[in-house]
């Protein structure tokens, strides 16, 4: 399984990468904003996306909407990672095509469950 980490915080990406490695997932690509993520998505092979909310250039919601406009990525699962669990934003993300969401702080087991492992 190939996972794409999309977060402007290199620290957060590193935390997630360490957690994924602990699950045996080492096929990981990283993007620091939605624009970079779209470019990586175009290269193909991504199965799941861990997507931050607030990012420069193109934020998580912007990325999600653009990604879901492209039928080629309809099977790519998206998990929104957020430090906020406000219902309105979560509902907005799910309506825009996120498959699920996870609230920071989260540990490896919660992430594993969200990834369906």
């Amino acid at each position: 399984m190939k996972v794409m980490l999309v977060d402007d915080s290199s620290t957060m990406r590193r935390i997630q990468k360490t957690q994924l490695a602990g699950m045996g997932l080492t096929d990981v690509v990283e993007a620091s904003n939605g624009k970079e993520a779209l470019d990586l998505l175009d290269k193909g092979g991504v199965d799941q996306v861990l997507l931050d909310w607030n990012m420069p250039e193109l934020d998580g919601m912007g990325f999600l909407k653009k990604m879901r406009e492209n039928g080629a990525f309809k099977d790519v699962k998206v998990i929104m990672c957020t430090s906020e669990s406000e219902k309105s934003r979560v509902i907005e993300a799910l309506k825009a095509g996120a498959n699920s969401y996870i609230v920071k702080p989260f540990g490896p087991q919660a992430l594993k469950d969200k990834l369906g492992l």
Partner: protein
């Protein structure tokens, strides 16, 4: 200050350390900060705005900050540098973001984190906004959080 505003930050700190760092922490008795005094060596600071204004700061002795960031990253960080700054900033961001959800009915906005490094630096209080300091003990050493918040 409404003391109920302190609890979300205390519980969020405990949860964040427990979940992401696998470190147990225990809060001490909160005290009012009436004038600036030296804190520790590394502070992550988040501004609060919206229906309330103020800030939250989490401060560590240098050695504790290095241990905390090492625990976050799952790899030893030995020197004060970019990894330490990013790690403490992200930690402050997660704690503030997680606490935010407990402020029912208040539209609270949090800023990007700032990280201050300096031996025994002082954090000045915001004018007209009382500050509460909560000391914490953990298995890697002591640290503190400061919460200054005032609703309009």
């Amino acid at each position: 200050m409404n003391v109920a505003y302190i609890n979300p930050f205390i519980s969020s700190t405990i949860a964040t350390f427990d979940t992401m760092l696998k470190l147990k922490t225990a809060p001490g008795k909160p005290v009012a900060k009436t004038q600036p005094f030296p804190t520790y060596d590394v502070s992550g600071i988040i501004g609060l705005s919206g229906d309330a204004q103020g800030c939250i700061a989490i401060s560590f002795p240098k050695i504790v900050a290095l241990k905390v960031v090492s625990a976050i990253l799952g790899a030893e960080v030995k020197v004060v540098g970019e990894e330490l700054v990013d790690g403490i900033g992200e930690l402050a961001n997660i704690i503030a973001g997680n606490a935010k959800q407990h402020f029912d009915g208040l539209n609270l906005l949090i800023s990007l984190p700032n990280v201050v490094i300096g031996r025994n630096h002082m954090l000045g209080a915001l004018k007209g906004i009382p500050t509460i300091v909560v000391p914490f003990v953990s298995s890697v050493g002591m640290f503190s959080i400061e919460v200054a918040i005032k609703t309009h």
